[in-house]
Amino acid sequence: MKILVTVKRVVDYNVQIRIKPDGTGVETENIKMSMNPPDENAVEEALRIKESGKAEEVIAVSIGEEKAKETIRTALAMGADRGIYVKADSNIEPLAVSKILKAIVEKEKPELIIMGKQAIDDDCNQTGQMLSSILDWSQGAFISEIKFKDNHIEVTREVDEGLEMLKLKLPAVVTCDLRLNEPRYASLPNIMKAKKKPIDQMTVDELGVDVAPRIKQLKVIEPPKREKGIMVKDVAELVQKLKHEAKVI
C-alpha cells in the first residue's frame, strides 16, 4: 500500500506574526517557516504504518512556491520515501489544493491519504474533507487514533462532544488532530540521506487544474489589542476585584 501525506510550509507556530503595514497580508519574508504542525503528525503516522509493515511507500506532497521543497525535505528526513512538489503561487485556496491533490492521486494511486486537519496560517480546515468528497473516498476528519483491520481502518475522531469511532473502507482520506502521535525529530544521518531522495516536480498547468482565486482578500488588520490589566497582591484582593470591580462573580 502507498500512503500519500501532504505537508504545508507555514510561519512557525512560535513566531508572533506581523501584519504588513499596507494591510495586504502577513509578513512572511525573513520569518522562520516550518512544517504545519498537524502535518508533522500526518508524516509520523504514515511512517509508523510503514514501519509496522502495512505500507510499502510514503510519499510527501507540497504545493507552493519554490521553498515548499524544504518542507518536503523535512518529511524525507523524518523518513518519507520520496516527494512530489507542485509549483504554484503561495496563496492558492483549499478548493484548488484539493483538485491538485486529486490529480496526483489519479497518477499515484495511494490507498490512504493522511493530512493535517488545519493549516495554522489560514485556519481554513477544509482541504481533507474536500479531497475526500471529490475522490468519493471515505472520510475520517480530526482523528486521534487509527487502527488497521483486514480491509478497512477504524478511526477515532475528536469531536466537540467527545470522541467518535468510525469504520472506514479503503481507500480513505483522514485528517489528523495533534493528539494522534508525537512526531519524531529527523536525525542527522537521516537529514543527509534525505538529500538524495527524489522529489518529482510539476506545475499546476501540467496537472491541468484551474487554481484561479474565488476569494479576494480585501484587507488584513490586527485585532483590537487588549489592555494589560493589573497585578493583584493576593487571592483575597483578586476575589474582591472580581466581586466589586468587574462584578463577574
Binding site: 510561519v11 512560535n14 508572533q16 506574526i17 501584519i19 502577513v26 483549499p94 478548493l95 484539493s98 486537519k117 495554522i120 489560514d122 485556519d123 481554513c124 480546515n125 482541504t127 481533507g128 474533507q129 474536500m130 475526500s132 468528497s133 471529490i134 471515505s138 472520510q139 475520517g140 475528536e158 469531536v159 466537540d160 462532544e161 470522541l163 467518535e164 469511532m165 469504520k167 472506514l168 473502507k169 480513505a172 495533534l178 482565486p213 476569494i215 482578500q217 484587507k219 488584513v220 488588520i221 485585532p223 487588549r226 494589560k228 490589566g229 493589573i230 497585578m231 493583584v232 493576593d234 487571592v235 483575597a236 483578586l238 476575589v239 472580581l242 466581586k243 468587574a246 463577574v248 462573580i249
Partner: protein
C-alpha cells in the same frame, strides 16, 4: 433567493451553536430556511419552527441519518442547494466535517469561521490563530460559509411558527460506518457557552491535581477548560481543549491557572470579557492579556481561592 442553515443537534435538542448561527444568518437574509437531518428528530424540528427568525424548517427523518455522518449529510444539502444563495453551518466539529464536502462538489470556495458579516459576499474571519483579521470577498455565485458561534448572540427561541416540510433523500451510500460515540458526561455548563470558564495548564502537573480546577468550577458554576499542553500531558481529554485547534470560548470570566499563554491557547480565549491569570512565572505571556494577574504558586493560591469563594457564597446565602 432564500438562504439555508444546517442545524447542529443531537436528534433531541438543538445545540447552542445553531442558535448563534441563526442570528448570523439573519444578517445576510431574512428568508432563512433551516435543515435538520437525523432520526426521530421531531422535537428538534418543532423547536426550530418556534424560533421567530426561522421561515421554514426542512426535516429529514430516517434511521440512516441518525449519526449524521459527513458522507450522508452532505448529499442532502447538495440536492437542495439550487434553491439557495447562501448555505451556512456552525464552525464546530459538526459543521467543519460536512461543509467542505458540499463546497467541493458544488465547486465553491468555502468561507470558514466568519466572525462578522459586512455584506452578502464580504466577511471578516480570523487567521493565524486570531492574530490577524482578514476581510474577504467571495466571488462565487453561491456562498458556502461556516460561522464562529461565539461571535454572534443566540437567537430567541420562542414566538415563531414556521412551517415544517418533510424531505426525502435517495439511497444513502456511505463508505464509512458509525461504530460508537463516547460523549464526555458533565453536570457543568457547556464549555463553549458557559458564563464562567476556569482552565488548567501544564502547571497543574497531573490529572489528580487537575481535580482542584474541577472543584473550583463547581463553586463558580463554571465550565472547565484546558490548554493543549494539559491535554497532551493527559491530564484531561481533548474535548476540554481551548485554543486554535480546540474550542473558542468567550465567557464573562475566564480564569487561566498554570497556563503560560501560548499563541495557540490565546486564540481560543482572548475575547473573554474578564481574564484572570494565576501563574508563578511573572514573565508568562498570559499576564499581557489578563485583566487581573496573580503571581503565585497555584498549589497555594487555589485552596485560598476556594476558601474565599466559600466565604462569599456563605455571605450571599
Amino acid at each position: 433567493m432564500s438562504i439555508l442553515l444546517l442545524a447542529e443537534h443531537n436528534n433531541k435538542n438543538i445545540m447552542s451553536s445553531t442558535l448563534n448561527s441563526i442570528t448570523a444568518a439573519k444578517e445576510i437574509n431574512d428568508d432563512l430556511h433551516v435543515l435538520v437531518v437525523g432520526y426521530k428528530n421531531d422535537s428538534v424540528a418543532k423547536d426550530l419552527s418556534s424560533i421567530p427568525l426561522v421561515k421554514k424548517v426542512l426535516q429529514l427523518d430516517s434511521s440512516e441519518y441518525e449519526n449524521q455522518l459527513a458522507e450522508s449529510v452532505s448529499p442532502v444539502i447538495i440536492n437542495i442547494a439550487d434553491q439557495y444563495s447562501h448555505i451556512l453551518a456552525p464552525a464546530t466539529t459538526f459543521g467543519k466535517n460536512i461543509m467542505p464536502r458540499v463546497a467541493a462538489i458544488l465547486d465553491i470556495s468555502q468561507v470558514s469561521d466568519i466572525v462578522k458579516i459586512e455584506s452578502g459576499d464580504t466577511f471578516i474571519r480570523p487567521i493565524y490563530a486570531g492574530n490577524a483579521l482578514a476581510t474577504i470577498k467571495s466571488m462565487d455565485v453561491k456562498k458556502i460559509i461556516t460561522i464562529r458561534p461565539t461571535s454572534f448572540d443566540p437567537a430567541p427561541t420562542s414566538g415563531g411558527n414556521a412551517a415544517i416540510e418533510k424531505i426525502t433523500q435517495l439511497k444513502n451510500q456511505t463508505k464509512s460506518e458509525f461504530i460508537r460515540r463516547e460523549e464526555s458526561k458533565s453536570e457543568r455548563p457547556e464549555l463553549s457557552s458557559a458564563r464562567v470558564v476556569i482552565s488548567g495548564g501544564r502547571g497543574l502537573q497531573s490529572s489528580e491535581n487537575f481535580s482542584m480546577i474541577n472543584d473550583l468550577a463547581d463553586k463558580l458554576n463554571a465550565a472547565v477548560g484546558a490548554s493543549r499542553a494539559a491535554v497532551d500531558a493527559g491530564y484531561v481529554s481533548n474535548d476540554y481543549q481551548v485554543g486554535q485547534t480546540g474550542k473558542v470560548v468567550v465567557p464573562d470570566l475566564y480564569i487561566a491557572v498554570g497556563i503560560s499563554g501560548a499563541i495557540q491557547h490565546l486564540a481560543g480565549m482572548k475575547e473573554s470579557k474578564v481574564i484572570v491569570a494565576i501563574n508563578k512565572d511573572e514573565e508568562a505571556p498570559i499576564f499581557n492579556i489578563a485583566d487581573y494577574g496573580l503571581k503565585a504558586d497555584l498549589f497555594e493560591a487555589l485552596p485560598k481561592l476556594s476558601a474565599e469563594l466559600d466565604k462569599l457564597n456563605t455571605i450571599q446565602k
